[in-house]
Structure formats: C-alpha cells, structure tokens
Symmetry: C2
Subunit: 124 residues, 2 copies
C-alpha cells in the first residue's frame, strides 16, 4: 500500500476525531487542505484503510461512519442528537452459551445502546 498524500490525510482526519465521522464529513475536512480531492478517493481510501486494519466501519442506520478505535468496543447512540459515544463493554461469557444453544460460532458482538445522552437532561 502506497502512502499518497490523500491517503495520509484521510487517515489523519479519522484519527483526529472522536465523532465517528461519515465519508462526507471526511471529504469536507480533506478539501480544506487538498481542495481538489475527490469523494471517490475518500471512499476508496476509507475502504483501503479498513482493509489494512487502520480503521473500522460502523453502520449507523443506513449510513457508514468511521472509527479509528479498532479494539472491540460498543456505542451509545443518542436518538436526540445522533452522537455516538464509545463504551467498553466486554462480556465474552455469552459466546459459549450461544455456541451451545445455537451451534453458532461467535466472532464479535456489535451493540448499539440507544437512548438519550446527558446533553439533553432536564436539570431540576
């Protein structure tokens, strides 16, 4: 894998935020320093970076978002503002149970915990 200017920038943008950005947001950011970068290049690089293990893809409803944090973790999703908040919640204990009950071999668990984040709490 070559390290083009564009690829470095896409990677850097994803690595610099905790917002789990969309391809379009990465595109907008990238244009600030590479004005004629194309959206296709952003998508191609996001995919390549995922394949090489640099980033992960998260499907939020029907749109893809990207995450620099590749270790297993889950997300709180605020239905009010759409924010995704990282949460580490490892419970490998379900794996053997699922294996036994369903003869299903577990690779990973993807969990979205949906609710309302603290930004919207009404203070009394």
């Amino acid at each position: 894998m070559r390290f083009s200017h564009q690829r470095q920038k896409v990677r850097e943008i994803v690595y610099k935020t905790n917002s789990h950005p969309t391809a379009d947001w990465v595109f907008t950011e990238a244009k600030k320093s590479i004005p004629n970068i194309s959206l296709g290049t952003v998508y191609r690089n996001l995919k390549q970076l995922e394949k090489s293990g640099y980033i992960k893809t998260i499907y939020d409803g029907n749109i893809a978002r990207y995450d620099w944090k590749t270790e297993p973790h889950n997300h709180l999703k605020c239905k009010n503002c759409g924010d995704l908040i990282d949460i580490v919640f490892l419970d490998e204990s379900i794996h053997p149970k699922i294996k036994k009950d369903f003869k299903f071999n577990v690779d990973k668990v993807e969990m979205f915990i949906i609710g309302t984040c603290k930004k919207h709490a009404k203070h009394s």
Copy 2:
C-alpha cells in the same frame, strides 16, 4: 389507518416468514398476488406498519430488513450466508450501570452477534 388490499398483503408477507426480509423481497412476493403493486407502496406500507407497531425495522449493514417479532430480541448474523437468527437475550442489568457511568438514558439495546451459523460447520 385504512386497510387496503396492498397493506394487508405486505403485512401478511412479513408475518409469514422468519427471514427478516428486505423491502425488495416483500415486493417480489407481493407481485405474485398483486401484479401491479408498486415498490413505493411496499415501502410506504412497511413504514406505516412500523409506525403502527405491527413490525420492526432492522438495519443489516446499510440495508433495511423487516421483522414481525416486535418484542425486544436480538439477532445472530451469519457472515457466511447472511441469515439472521432470532435470539432472546435480555440483560437489563446494563441499563443502570450505563445511566450511572455515562448519564445516558437507555431506551433499548440493539445487538448483532456476528459469526458463522451451523449450516457451515465442517463435520469430522
């Protein structure tokens, strides 16, 4: 909500399968008895049925699938054949913990357990 022929059929199709079908599959099935039904009608009715609480929408990667089973449950997703298998796994115990740690109010937990289903087991 009126009960058009089309709406009844869409509902019936979703209720008759455990395959968590896509809109397109429902459309194909519906055409068998209502040849000139339109895809827009299928989508409109799936949405309406969800709003009325008859069915649920599941996002599988970036495509929507529909589920007649509206009680909270989760899914095993086979990365080999794409099947979604229902699994009841309720652990409300995480709710208070998340509330405390993140001041995040949990509505529901959406979990995809990804792995390989028994259809692909190599028998020795």
